[in-house]
Symmetry: C3
Subunit: 631 residues, 3 copies
């Protein structure tokens, strides 16, 4: 396990060359190890087609490296310059309304455009040729935040042609495709692959099988795009290759992209995310306004630990207010430290603050850095330095394996996006709800893909997993709770017959589904309600819980459970505690905002509450971190 | 009057041929008489241009017919196959933003496209030639749900050219059109019909006269489209011809389409409609979540009885959760029975549940059927069979003529959509509010077009009837309450001078109109308020009601009343009771959710409440139906 | 100072010629002096290209003039006829989604279209040639409501080309532009001006420097368009030239347009504006539903007094319900009088009611006039006549200079629109909040541009003034409160370094900004909160106010203050009272809805409340106006 380190993101091309040396010195002084550069610098590396200006980048790398920093070098393919666009005027993605998403910001390309892919091959090859063996370059990043700004899905002509090819590969004949999708419905049958359009601008909703196939294709295009870069880099460097995933970006399969990489890194903006992408109540939004949701960061840590097969970083960590949410509050003092320690407790190898210095111009001018625009220290810098100091004396790195596994599946996210049936049904949201329920009990959780080996986990949860892989249940050794909506679809987005969940040995079938607004929540016999999604379960399985009216809700065959609805927090808490008790997993009753995480040797406590909390003899200040020997 | 019968909608092309026989047998066993087929099967009837595959359809009809079922055969023109689209790439409607509404679902055609209309002529002729004299085909359906998914209004080039022709026919000269529309305002005058555009993508609102003319044109195009099919069918069959209208679809004139047909049928989805198209308070939405609004079905029954000139069906009846609303709750047990009985009490000849078996693939896979996807009975089947059993012993069919007539007018719906003046003003909504007010008093209502003979009704209501037909008042024999906004427009969408309502013998004029949000409602002297729409009435007519400040609100000359505003429920209740009392019409004071309907011989009670209700010695369970001899 | 006069807007082309005489007579009888005509009449003046029909307009002017009315003649360029559009099919503006904003209403032109500008030159020249010396024409209006319906900003090809030229003029080289905008960020650098696109349809937000430059360009195009007309008119008439600005239209620089004109006029629709464009609480919306916000009219009066360099009118005054808001209530009796008197108290030379007679057809048929469509008097007419009568005996015209100056700056409005950082930050809204705070204290306010001479004002407020002009602080002689967000940007939309506000002699710097939703408001030590926008102030300036936690919020060096956040009403009230006290400016404590305005000799009281108010011995009825000698 590599040591826990800190770093930052730096853009030498934004600053006068005479400041680089001092910047590098101050980075080292703040305790930083890593500096990421280069990922948006195409127009400075290749100002004109085929004319390269390497000098400045050579000198920047040398300056940073000589100061003792390890450099992560990014490929600049997220920001093709104007001249690339001039060469490929149709390289833009089109949105669902058919409008081009043009030049003037970033990520202005369609993953399916062959001409642009060729430009990427060329520039990545050039950069890799020059720096692949440079001793200061200790890691490479491909592109930047695939999918950010909703850029995975494109409705361009290039995408349509590529999708037709993808369909031809997958289905081999139009007739097979028609049968797979059920195109006999509404006479949607195709005679040739060339007739297949993209599932936008239809009169009413398109065939969900069509839409899901398109979402799979879009994800595959990201994998392909990334792989092209990885193959070029692999041939030219031995340094590890990573990509920086954006928080709550689920439009492509991160496990699939991650399989080609060495390290998973993600970009953590807790306060921005609370405002714009975290499932939370209004009360939570107010309470955690300057801290972020207590489970949002940990969810991603646990997810990317799996995506990186154990190796993961935060490569962009919010150090102060950001610029891109509807409101941009400042972190509570201490949060820049807490977020870093929480990442380390979950096994991060590195935490890099974004960015070194607040840039006073262009789109992100209101995004805080470790330094202010005038180079004075911003509040984040002191907390960063504090973490650096603490790392020296703090307990060993690493994190404990979780007792509980939660299955997260990108294809399910697309499936439920395509066909929620009730507006609230969303894969991330239900997984996050279950994850939060586990965290409030003080549990260590592993978030894993559907095809992971789950045999070592005493408790496995898989809500909303659209299609169970072959043999999934055979791999379970402890208690498992599947559902709601688990195994509810074939791989081609149909309802299986016999009816779901069709679990081995468990005599239950989802006879009917209803989705309801808040007023339609169904009370449970033991307290709490089913909300959003309610299934009618048929069959003779053992009944563990029922509705107040006596309809089975949680059924079991031995340790295998099926849950026929979306429990509210009260019901979920009871269900999880019962399962933990059955497996002898200790559960706690944490105060609101307090969270913990175990490493192999220590237990870390994190207080996300805006006030001090007391728990079992401990007192932890707001935004406080505490560690102690593991119980 | 034909007997009351049940039926279902079936898609043999979706299921293996070996299952048809068993399906037919079970349909008969469940007590069904009718089975509707074929309306989306174009790609199976004519898989390639000019190549027909009749065999499967021949056998399906024979199987169903031989089992004793009467078949309704639909023309497949709502779902042209891909090859039709390839032939006519510009056949799509364009939405108001100019985007094509393309292939991949259904209803992907513009009513004004001549090439597509020719394709329709061809396929309908072929189908009619083959089955026009088939003894099993006992009715024909044209197309499917004209207007569903907002498909009446199209901004295509084809529509523009056709609209120019329509204007030339209607106005004869550009100058006449300019004068009719008042195009001198803002220099909107045209020199030629070829300059006339469609009223979308204007900088601010278009001329309401322009917009209304366009809406009239759009409706006329539907009438024309339907008539083409009817004429082909008439020449080839003696079976009655019907169309299935969608609930709260008012973009074309159903009376005009219905005039060419023999039976009006409509598609009743009470729970889906409550969520997405029923005017209701939040409390009503919660209370009737699993029942639908107590007046929404009856409103349509009473409307389509008029559209069908006495002959009407429900051809699609929700039997369980649907798939298309934001939330899709399951019906309260008993509702599938209640809805059918309510239809029969209002005079339906048939109620057909949609669909026979839940289809596990494509867009509607979460739409319940009478059978589950695995062919097990769904809850609706038992209720359907119960109704079938009850029909044998239940009182005679037919329904009583209403004491009260409510005028519903499609052109008024377009007029107020074009120019609401206050956002709440909508023709359907105000008519529905008046209808609900009548129903809460236990009254039988007839919903009639503006040109109907109203002489037999003791009470006539016509809120928001934009333009009174010539001689309208002469035809009234009982009490009439016109207004608000009645006769407020000329046929060319201008304010008439002398000012409205210009009723014979009634000295009142709408001197001013104001529209207000909830905070601006105006208290009435006798209780309740005027909301949304408030008129200042000038003149010496007898004053029946005033505002708390003494301004006349309800005025009269003999039995002819004019109501100068939109009364809230309390005020409406008083006004209606007074009118009924004057005519000797008995009114009741029904508990919340209880409704009744009289046939000639019996009174039917329907409990939409989620709990049992007691009324005048009766106790009716939730979702209960009760009938008794007519008082 | 010209005498205070009344007028109306009239469209002879809408009415039979035989009615003109009677209309003119009744106008004079009602006490009107002015009548504005012609501004939408292009299709009647030039029905075919180059064929003019002057006769009707000659006669209309003669009829009106002979009756004793002074005529304002408008150029008809806001409504080009269909034949102009046929000649220039690409003359439309495109919206941000790329859709043309076409023919069929008004303002259907792009300010950057050279072909249309040439058409305007031609028609204005023709009209001016004919009527420039007509003795009845006593003023000219250019076009109509520049910017209404969001028409300043256009994304057409014509606009793109013109913007590229504008950039070339401003920056001289692509490299200079790249540096000015900071295009090195995200590789957005341009090689040629021809590569520069408009800042719409980008993947994520465009560079704010790019967006601000485009907004400046758009404003300049309006100035240019107007100047073309002014130059033609100046050469042909000696009458004053004016334009009618629309309320809360800030997309172009009214000071810049106004510099070319003689009189500023604006269109005042208090009730429509309350519904659709006035910053107000829900309680205020309910309370002032039929009166308009008590400060919205005065704000514009004080603004346009500056735009017109002392000379200003209301050229369109709402006399009754309008047609264009979501709801359109009727004014409380007396408001049509109150609004006029309030304008006169603020120095208006004329108040013209829009329109003379309600037009029963086309878009504005529900817009009240002084007459009803049937020519009977509408309620506004009596109030108009009452004002006319009062004017004869009322105190002298003119208005007092304010003690307080509030700086309003169009470029700041664009800057904060481009980059609010927190969704609530809007220049108009914060200026309006400060203005309301001053008005509630009974103060006379001057609203002035940033480059005005402020030396005569004892108190100067400049919230959200993006960039202070050179020497701004040198010109201050009294107390000044700058901030929040004042001087926060360079002219190229960057954060200045050293950090803002960089005020001479005031040692404070905005070290950090946070923006918060309502739940994040920060309590102040002396009561109230900072809301929306909160700055962290660094430095050794004298601290006047702090947050409850002791962070400096209001700092000073002598009379120069900087306010580091957006105070709520309670805090603002305290800050303003303190500042007034320091300068010896008397403040009052007005009841809710009561406002006052001083002329040189008199104090006017206006009661916007819907009930009578008592204040210091006075009792003023709802919608009442009172004047008395100045204290």
């Amino acid at each position: 396990m590599p040591a826990r380190t800190l770093g930052t993101c730096y853009y030498p091309e934004h600053w006068p060359e005479e400041t680089w040396d001092e910047d590098a010195r101050r980075m080292v002084e703040a305790g930083l190890t890593w500096v990421r550069i280069g990922e948006f610098a195409w127009s400075r590396i290749e100002p004109q087609p085929g004319q390269f200006d390497w000098g400045w980048l050579d000198r920047a790398i040398e300056t940073l490296g000589d100061a003792g920093l390890k450099v992560v070098l990014g490929t600049p393919t997220a920001t093709p310059p104007a001249w690339v666009v001039d060469k490929h005027p149709d390289m833009f993605a089109l949105d669902a309304q058919g409008r081009p998403r043009g030049f003037g910001s970033r990520r202005h390309y369609c993953f399916s455009h062959e001409g642009y892919l060729e430009e990427c091959r060329r520039i990545v090859t050039e950069v890799a040729n020059r720096y692949g063996r440079n001793p200061h370059i200790r890691a490479w990043q491909t592109d930047n935040e695939y999918g950010c700004h909703d850029t995975v899905v494109s409705y361009s002509d290039a995408a349509r042609r590529a999708f037709q090819d993808w369909c031809a590969q997958r289905y081999q004949s139009p007739d097979a495709l028609n049968r797979a999708w059920g195109n006999v419905f509404w006479s949607m049958e195709y005679d040739t692959f060339g007739q297949i359009g993209l599932p936008n601008l239809t009169v009413t909703e398109p065939n969900p099988a069509h839409a899901l196939a398109f979402r799979r294709f879009c994800s595959d295009q990201v994998v392909r795009f990334n792989r092209v870069q990885v193959e070029i880099l692999r041939a030219r460097t031995d340094a590890p290759i990573l990509h920086n995933y954006m928080g709550r970006e689920v439009a492509f399969d991160h496990f699939a992209v991650g399989a080609d990489l060495d390290i998973a890194t993600w970009d953590s903006y807790p306060i921005g995310f609370l405002e714009d992408r975290t499932p939370a109540t209004e009360a939570e939004r107010a309470r955690f306004l300057r801290q972020g949701h207590p489970d949002m960061q940990a969810f991603h840590h646990d997810l990317y630990r799996a995506v990186g097969r154990g190796r993961w970083w935060i490569i962009e960590q919010q150090p102060g207010p950001v610029n891109w949410a509807a409101h941009n509050p400042a972190p509570l003092p201490g949060m820049a430290r807490l977020w870093a320690w929480e990442a380390f407790a979950h096994g991060a190898e590195a935490v890099c603050y974004f960015r070194w210095r607040q840039l006073p111009f262009a789109q992100e001018q209101h995004h805080a850095g470790l330094l202010r625009p005038d180079s004075a220290p911003a509040p984040g810098l002191e907390e960063c330095a504090q973490v650096a100091g603490e790392l020296a004396e703090a307990p060993e790195a690493g994190t404990a394996r979780g007792d509980v596994a939660l299955v997260f599946d990108y294809a399910s996210a697309w499936a439920w996006d395509v066909q929620p049936q009730g507006v609230e049904f969303d894969h991330f949201t239900i997984c996050f709800a279950f994850y939060s329920g586990l965290r409030r009990l003080g549990l260590n959780v592993d978030i894993l893909p559907a095809d992971a080996d789950l045999s070592g986990h005493a408790l496995v949860l898989a809500p909303g997993l659209a299609t169970l892989p072959q043999g999934f249940c055979d791999g379970l050794t402890g208690t498992a709770i599947l559902g709601p909506r688990t195994n509810a679809k074939t791989t081609e987005m149909a309802i299986p017959v016999p009816l779901p969940p069709a679990l081995p040995g468990l005599d239950t079938a989802v006879a009917r589904v209803e989705t309801v607004p808040a007023s339609g929540a169904v009370p449970l016999a033991q307290g709490g309600t089913l909300q959003h999604w309610i299934e009618t379960l048929d069959g003779d399985a053992e009944v563990i819980e029922t509705t107040a009216d006596g309809a089975p809700t949680l059924v079991a065959a031995g340790k295998l459970h099926y849950l026929g609805g979306w429990p509210d927090a009260e019901a979920l808490d009871r269900i999880l505690r019962r399962a933990c008790a059955a497996e002898g997993i200790e559960t706690l009753d944490l105060p609101d905002g307090l969270r913990l995480r175990d490493t192999d040797t220590h237990r870390f406590w994190f207080n996300y509450a805006p006030e001090p909390v007391r728990f079992a003899g401990r007192e932890i200040p707001a935004a406080g971190v505490l560690w102690e020997d593991r119980p």
